[in-house]
């Protein structure tokens, strides 16, 4: 039982964060609260992906060096997997771009409809 929990607890934490973000996206009526829910969802997906790159007893993926020359030979079991870190750097930049453009669109909506609540905007469209 303890082995089962210790094997999977990082995924459970990410699922809890995913569900918090998902609930905020589908049940809140203010548009900015929906945007914050989307942000939480993206952060939870990034945590989930990076947590698959850890190895037992491993350190940061930077080799031991002194001014560019290696101090000891590189062993694969000693360093973390660098590939998920690279992919998540791209995902962070995409998150920034999405949030920036979404905030610009929200400013235009406020100027046109004078409100940021979903039911008032839908009522003034019909």
């Amino acid at each position: 039982m303890v082995e089962y929990v210790m094997g999977f607890y990082n995924y459970w934490i990410c699922v809890v964060l995913l569900m918090i973000g998902f609930y905020a996206m589908i049940s809140k009526k203010n548009l900015i609260k929906k945007l914050i829910g989307l942000h939480i969802f993206q952060t939870a997906v990034m945590l989930f992906f990076i947590s698959t790159s850890v190895k037992r007893g491993a350190t940061v993926p930077v080799a031991f060096h002194r001014q560019g020359e290696l101090l000891q030979a590189i062993e694969v079991q000693q360093f973390m997997n660098p590939l998920p870190h690279v992919l998540i750097l791209t995902a962070i930049v995409v998150m920034i771009s999405t949030t920036g453009v979404a905030l610009a669109v929200l400013l235009l909506i406020y100027r046109r409809y004078k409100s940021l609540e979903e039911n008032e905007i839908l009522r003034s469209i019909r």
Partner: protein
């Protein structure tokens, strides 16, 4: 409405927890992501590109084409923001 949203969220959470049983364990050195391509990147990074930081050498040298796409994405987001929020002149 809120009760319906809560039920949907709990159902999706239950499905995800049920599907987690096939994932590799926490901190397993023999998990599939760490076995196929990463040992080559970790071993050859200093002798092929004199860069002890493995993340920078993979990001900028071995996978440099994806980073070109990413710089294009952030440039497009900046241009989109400027186009949406211009001052209206006559």
């Amino acid at each position: 409405m809120r009760v319906l949203a809560l039920l949907i969220v709990l159902f999706t959470g239950g499905l995800l927890v049920y599907g987690i049983e096939d994932m590799p364990r926490w901190a397993d050195p023999q998990s599939p992501p760490s076995v196929h391509v990463s040992p080559r990147y970790i071993e050859k990074t200093v002798e092929e590109t004199k860069t002890p930081n493995m993340v920078t050498s993979v990001l900028a040298d071995y996978r440099g084409f994806d980073t070109l796409g990413e710089v294009t994405v952030i440039f497009t987001a900046g241009v989109a923001c400027l186009l949406l929020l211009r001052k209206e002149t006559e």
